[in-house]
Amino acid sequence: MHTILELQGICKQFGRIKALNGVDLAVAGGEIHALLGENGAGKSTLMKILGGVHRPDQGRIIVGGEERHFTSYHDAIKSGVAIIFQEFSLIPYLNAVDNMFLGREMRNTFGLLSRTMMRRRAEAIFRRLGVTIDLSMEVRRLSLAQQQFVEIGKALSLEARILILDEPTATLTPAEAAHLFTVMRELKRLGVAMIFISHHMEEIFEVCDRVTVLRDGAYVGSAEVVATTVDDLVEMMVGRRLQNTFPPKTAARMSTSMRTAMDVRAIQLRRDGPVNRFQLREGEILGFAGLVGSGRTELALGLIGADPCHRKDVSVHGVTMALHDPAEALVAGVGLLPENRKTEGLILDFSIKDNISLNNLQKYCSALPFIRRGAEREDAQCMSRDIDIKAPDVFARVGNLSGGNQQKVVIARWLNHHCKILIFDEPTRGIDVGAKAEIYRLMRRLTVQGYAVIMISSELPEIVGMCDRVAVFRQGAIVTILEGDSIQSNEVMRHATTGSRLEFV
Amino acid sequence: APPLKIGLSLQEMNNPYFVTMKKAAEEAATSIGATLIVTDARHDIAKQTSDVEDLIQKKIDILLLNPTDSVGIQSAVKSAKKAGIVVVTVDANAQGPVDSFVGSKNFDAGQAACTYLANTLKGKGDVAILDGIPVVPILERVRGCKAAFTNFPGIKLVATQNGKQERDQALSVTENILQSHPRLQGMFSVNDIGALGALSAIESSGKDVKLVSVDGAPDAIKAILKSNAKFIATAAQYPRDQIRLALGVALAKKWGATPPATIPVDIKLIDREQAASFRW
């Protein structure tokens, strides 16, 4: 196989941060090449350089045997490089078709847009991807996973020779990811070279041929996937071996004697929607499992009052609460870590410190209404050390952090608060294995301290490994609540896809 | 017969001068049992054209027009005439088939005020002009003022700045002029509102700068009457009389008379002596 793409000695510096330091990468035609590394290792930066978004400080980009100097993504597209960016690059108010063909619209003989032609192409692509998407709906109204597929479709429509997928599976369920892999294999057969970034080890072993590992912006090594193991790769990534990702469940303590933290006697989002009820106990992790769009996020948002709710009857620690507003939920000690960190979780222009203390500023005000900066900074430093946020200091702008580190900042905000009931919506999305393990340990630590945690996750292993109980969602309704040994992948999947609704009176 | 409908289109209504016109029109209309519709162009000639068009749609019999721009209003005047409306311009004239013009002479007003100023300064000294919105009546006043100054070789015009005919703007601009021209002795403002702003600046600077203006607004008269006033004269116009005359002329025309094309209402220079007995 011939090398179609070569990166040599790429260096890139952002201010004081050396994001990349002499990275080499070679990809052959028809090869799926995995790029591995911790959060902030420089994977996305490397891909952005390849896509002409950033200019490298040093190093050469060779595509098809020719050295290229991309000055914009436009240039990259022209030489056959397409990228699915880690950060969505969709226009929220345009529909999927307009988004897919943005910048490369098809025209009819009058030079006007040919909507039907584009629509047909889009339909064909989505059929190939095996997803159904409402093509006339604004993409912001689509679920995250659907948006991700629009991104994928957009890149596929470019018919590029080199396709870069920067964490495309982060918002997909395993079934959807499997779809994607089928498409990737087909592309591979057609000779397309792919660079695949993911924090899911098993995915790498499922589709990839070779793997390159980065650590702290430096090249660590490459390997044939068949000739390596998860543990080897993890060691290359983090510099040591990791043991048991999931901390042991405190199963022994699971019993009805545990106090109820939150009793959701009824929650009905829409007049014609299903009524759900469940209880959350102190010291447990309750999983919300289900397919994409099964309504877990909606329920969580309705619960804390972020979205209007038709009927809601909730008591927190035995006190009935209205929870009309996230602020009321906060007062009641209920916090939500949103699904989409960039648009819902973070204030990108704020520093790490300011993001962490955002909803807890009263804590740093004594009698006077002034923020005691010192205390605030110390807390932020403490938190970011605790969960290992990789940044020069707590004054760094959050918008410049890598995806995983951004997620940790949102987590830190809630850990810094008094809330004893936390709803984590996809908390480990885009988080590297090392950090993931830390977050799991952290969640477990919280439950030991008496926190009650709801974890919404589309990752089955995580649901199975972490949750004391699992509520399985289907079409907006909780169809069953699994407990103890019945928490198993196939069981969860069975209920998520075919289970009958639990009827509550 | 249905009551007479009168339209009054004013160039602005944020100025006592024009508010007085409006009041006079209201009084006159009530006394003859006519209905009156007033519009405010806010110095926007496009809006005034629309206003006149609306009044035409409203089927008025008489249009009393105080144009913000003589040239720009001409097509609206034509339309009004075509609709058989008697058009009398007030205060400033308009081009086009106007039946009659009742108004003061802005050029004369500027000239009279500035001649008085120059005489008071004994024909020599630095003076400044406080300009206003670039509309013809104002431009004419400035032209008249400059014409007056040319008769006095000792008078030196050192600054012309725009006070936008508003007190606050005039105040700041005058402060600046006073700073940059410490030997300033006289000042002409294109209207009384600007003059009152300038007066505040002059008074708080403690400098002896004589001020003249145009209009004859009550506040200006009050200021002129004050002892030791820096505000020495204003070239008064007669808003109330202009409206009364205009309405009279319009009615005459309506009844079949052929009024003169121009009915000048002379301006009158009001200095301290005349101020006590002067009133719009």
Partner: protein, 335 residues
């Protein structure tokens, strides 16, 4: 619905028509144009009940003519606002280009040259705006605030503040003439709207305008040449302003260097009342037409009723608030 379903069985062609109508009606009811239209109708209704003079064919044409200038400017403004920017210089550009055309005509330059030169100046100011915003990365509001002063200053310096008079009689055509009984300004306005409708809805450029306002960074990452299209957007706004300048100059039969003060606010109001999001990315050109009409009807109707100009300020403000409130509430309930 039933009928289209039954059709489904019969033929293929009818179905698609049936569905399409259904979709476009539904889209309309949910779409951004519906609520402004409701607002406009309500205001018209009030005017009709308050005065007989409002609902006469003559007066409606009158309103149309009066609306035209603001509406034409608002077309360019829609484009700019959709792209996530704003253009405060439109009023000044209108004045500058109008006086220039008038001055050239007076100087015996043939109209076939004078009028395009007027447009060219509008486009030129737009390009300056666009360049500063798109290539130098300066904020639109301050750039266009600056060029607003500059354009006005040039118009005033060039004319000495006096209007330019003495245009040939035929020049009335653009502002008060008619073509087959249709008023020229209304015709020009409709033409400008039609062109921009096609551009925004049926050309790639139109997509890019929406994309810029929706998520500029994403548009760049999709390979759209962001700066180039931004530049174009401001040029279009300048062009629209200078078309409005031609109509105004003809309507007033003179070049007015101080015309159009605060017209930018009217244009922005028309755009936003028309349902276009002030932060860009969402909206429609038809909405802008409705918004401009609503403002025009308000101005005309209040004059017709004979409301005191002082009170007009208050009523206009309240009605605008109500119109926006209603459209907000109803669209919220739907989503």
């Amino acid at each position: 619905m039933n009928s289209s379903e039954s059709h489904k069985v019969d033929t293929g062609i009818d179905v698609s028509v049936g569905i399409r109508t259904r979709i476009s009606l539904a889209r309309f009811a949910k779409g951004p144009v519906c609520y402004p239209l409701v607002g406009l109708m309500m205001v018209c209704l009030v005017m009709v009940t308050m005065t007989d003079a409002f609902l006469t064919p003559d007066n409606l044409i009158n309103v149309g003519r009066q609306v035209s200038i603001n509406a034409i400017i608002a077309v360019g403004m829609t484009c700019v606002i959709l792209s996530g920017g704003i253009d405060l210089s439109v009023g000044s550009v209108m004045a500058l280009s109008g006086t220039l055309t008038a001055a050239l005509m007076i100087a015996a330059v043939p109209p076939a040259l004078a009028i395009p030169i007027g447009f060219a100046v509008g486009i030129a100011v737009g390009l300056v705006n666009g360049f500063c915003i798109a290539y130098a990365g300066m904020p639109p509001i301050i750039v266009t605030l600056a060029t607003m002063g500059i354009a006005r200053g040039i118009a005033l310096v060039a004319t000495g503040g006096y209007p330019i008079d003495g245009l040939p009689d035929w020049f009335e055509f653009f502002g008060r003439g008619d073509v087959f009984g249709l008023q020229t300004p209304i015709l020009i306005m409709l033409l400008v709207f039609a062109v921009m409708y096609v551009v925004l809805d049926h050309t790639p450029f139109g997509r890019y305008v929406y994309a810029l306002g929706g998520n500029e960074e994403a548009a760049r990452l999709s390979g759209v040449r962001v700066a180039r299209y931004k530049l174009l957007v401001y040029a279009i706004s300048g062009l629209c302003a200078s078309i409005a300048g031609l109509v105004l100059t003809s309507r007033l039969m003179s070049g007015q260097p101080n015309a159009g003060v605060s017209f930018e606010l009217d244009a922005i109001a028309a755009v936003v009342i028309g349902g276009t999001s002030i932060s860009g990315g969402r909206g429609s050109i038809i909405g802008t037409l409705i918004g401009a009409m609503l403002l025009g009807v308000l101005n005309n109707g209040l004059n017709m009723i004979g409301v005191s100009p002082y009170v007009q300020n208050i009523i206009k403000g309240v009605i605008i608030l109500l119109a926006i409130y209603i459209s907000r509430e109803r669209s919220k309930r739907l989503s």
